[in-house]
């Protein structure tokens, strides 16, 4: 059951109806039931993996919390302890809590690593030890729905408890709901327990405005997914399935179109997720803020898949950068490479590890790892070379605040990100490099844009027009959002007739221009596979 299906809409509306019929304090049970139905329909018996993980996380949370505050019992029993003794008791408790945390994180991560990555690691090892001659027959492993997402949620829950930033959930079923809340389980956003947990637990009274805005957002998500993503998927497939036939601007278009496809697909899926949650009065963390308006790769990653970036920052980047090991490395490096670079070294190393993980999180393939590293190189470059950039700007007398400079930076960022897409979409790394190479072949020849070559990519003329108009509308709305305009609120303020006219037109647009038909099944969301 994907988001873009009638059964999903029936499940959502039935859940909405029951949610508001139930007494306030029991409403979360409707969300849990709907989430388990959605999960079981998609994952069958693998639902047991989710439930077992939830049980582990529940036990882990309570044990970590108990260890963290175990020193309090000692303080009560022996109130005459000195300040130093109290501190040492507290430190001991903290250390014990960290040990329990490590154990649970290893087990939970172990489930993900085994199910998703064991074939990759075993295959790589066999290939390494046999000089590429050995053949590894992969195990048949099925992945529970959303495992890459709920594993990160589980880890953040446990780490936050160990850091004293969250209390453990008392009710195991509520914790299960946090891990599998159906609007967000398929492809995120990746919420924090302290943001989502209380919202799920408390019953929300019916708010007609919020409900309506939720439905609007779902409709907008459908438009992005069905009119843009599923349409542009055809030329993207044409180029990536026969890359040897395309070079120069056509090869670049393959990556650029794929960038548009992923954005429409993923952010469309997010709109459906956020909208579905909003019909229950629940606010999920947004995952995008107009990423293609970014002026640097760093800026892009602040606006793209925000909750994954935030997770990596809090649970990988900061702990690594501030770890004792990285600290002493930095001390040694200061003597070797000078104080300026030495100080930055922990951040640089941690950042590379983050982007390696971001890459491999998408899937157990070298293409994804290179995709991560490609982005990491530009982020670290931005950190290492600010002086060089500054000199360049002064040399060319560039006014940093000018619109033209901003547009140039946006295009440059789009280009860098698009080239990275070769790695995430090509079937293997050799193809990705070959495509990047062929992109520079006759790169200045723009004639394929007007000589009909585009029509050979599987879309007819009218489809290209619909696609172009839809992408322009998306760009226009993103531009409004960038300027701080709240579009849905503006629509809500319009007279009733005008509002309904907009809804009817939007629904008709999806029905007429959406890519589907008898027997057509909408393409799965790209991020479902991660």
């Amino acid at each position: 059951m994907t988001f873009v299906s009638v059964p999903f809409l029936i499940l959502l509306l039935a859940a909405d109806l029951l949610y508001y019929l139930f007494p306030l304090r029991h409403r979360w049970l409707v969300l849990l039931a709907a989430s388990l139905v959605f999960y079981a329909v998609n994952s069958g018996l693998l639902t047991l993996v989710l439930v077992a993980t939830a049980a582990l996380v529940y036990a882990g949370g309570r044990m970590i919390h108990a260890r963290l505050f175990s020193y309090k019992t000692l303080l009560e029993q022996e109130p005459s302890l000195t300040k130093e003794e109290k501190k040492s008791a507290r430190d001991r408790s903290k250390k014990q809590a960290k040990q329990v945390l490590t154990l649970f994180v290893l087990v939970i991560l172990g489930i993900l690593l085994f199910l998703k990555y064991s074939n990759f690691f075993a295959g790589t090892a066999v290939s390494l030890f046999t000089g590429g001659k050995g053949v590894y027959s992969p195990m048949k492993l099925l992945l529970p729905l959303g495992i890459s997402f709920y594993t990160l949620q589980a880890i953040s829950y446990l780490v936050d408890i160990s850091r004293g930033k969250a209390d453990p959930e008392k009710d195991p079923l509520r914790l299960l709901l946090y891990l599998c809340f159906f609007p967000q389980i398929v492809q995120g956003p990746i919420p924090r327990y302290r943001d989502l947990g209380p919202q799920l637990a408390e019953g929300h009274p019916f708010d007609p405005d919020g409900f309506c805005r939720g439905l609007q957002l779902i409709l907008w998500g459908f438009m992005k997914k069905l009119i843009i993503a599923d349409r542009i998927a055809t030329p993207v497939s044409a180029i990536f399935s026969a890359p040897e036939n395309y070079s120069g601007v056509m090869a670049f278009l393959g990556a650029a179109f794929y960038g548009i496809q992923v954005y429409a697909d993923f952010s469309g899926g997010m709109d459906i997720a956020l909208g579905a949650a909003q019909t229950f009065g629940i606010t999920l963390t947004p995952n995008f803020t107009q990423p293609y308006f970014s002026t640097s790769v760093e800026d892009f990653w602040r606006r793209w898949h925000i909750t994954l970036g935030a997770w990596m920052k809090d649970y990988v980047f900061y702990p690594l950068s501030l770890s004792k090991a990285f600290g002493s490395l930095s001390q040694k490096a200061r003597k070797l490479v000078g104080p300026s670079l030495g100080k930055k070294l922990p951040s640089i190393l941690a950042m590379f590890i983050v982007y390696f993980l971001v890459g491999i999180w998408h899937g157990p393939q070298w293409t994804y790892i290179l995709y991560g590293i490609w982005n990491g190189i530009f982020i670290v470059g931005g950190l290492l070379l600010p002086d060089l950039y500054e000199k360049g700007r002064r040399l060319f007398r560039i006014d940093e605040d000018s619109a033209s400079w901003r547009v140039f930076r946006m295009i440059r960022t789009f280009w860098i990100i698009s080239v990275g897409r070769f790695f995430s979409r090509a079937k293997d790394t050799a193809t990705a490099f070959a495509m990047i190479g062929s992109m520079f072949h006759n790169w200045y020849d723009l004639s394929p844009l007007s000589n009909g070559a585009l029509l050979g990519l599987g879309l007819e003329g009218p489809d290209w027009i619909v696609l172009a108009v839809a992408v322009l509308v998306l760009l226009y709305t993103d531009n409004l959002h960038e300027k701080g305009v709240k579009i849905r609120e503006s629509i809500s303020r319009q007279p009733l007739i005008f509002r309904w006219l907009i809804y009817y037109i939007a629904i008709l647009l999806v029905l007429i221009f959406g890519i589907y038909g008898p027997g057509y099944v909408s393409g799965n969301f790209i991020y479902e596979q991660f």
């Binding site: 501190k87 850091r163 004293g164 930033k165 501030l322 930095s330 100080k343 922990p346």
Partner: protein, 76 residues
């Protein structure tokens, strides 16, 4: 101590007005690299150990908040 802290902050980000800014994190004025630079510098200069557990927005939104965090850790 506040004066020395302001010096450190200005070295990391000369473009920001640390004396008056109170939403350094909430408004995304400091990025994660800046935070790491500030923390490691403060750890060295004030002989404290700001750990990852202390990296909360409310501890880093203003120079005063950072100073308060350092004082708290020095007392501990």
């Amino acid at each position: 101590m506040l004066e020395r802290l302001l010096e450190i902050l200005s070295e990391v980000r000369p473009d920001l007005d640390f004396e008056n800014e109170t939403r350094l994190i909430d408004d995304d004025l400091l990025d994660s690299f800046d935070i790491i630079s500030i923390v490691s510098e403060c750890n060295d200069v004030f002989d404290v150990e700001i750990s990852v557990d202390d990296l909360e927005p409310e501890n880093f939104n203003s120079a005063e908040a950072i100073a308060a965090l350092i004082e708290r850790l020095q007392e501990d």
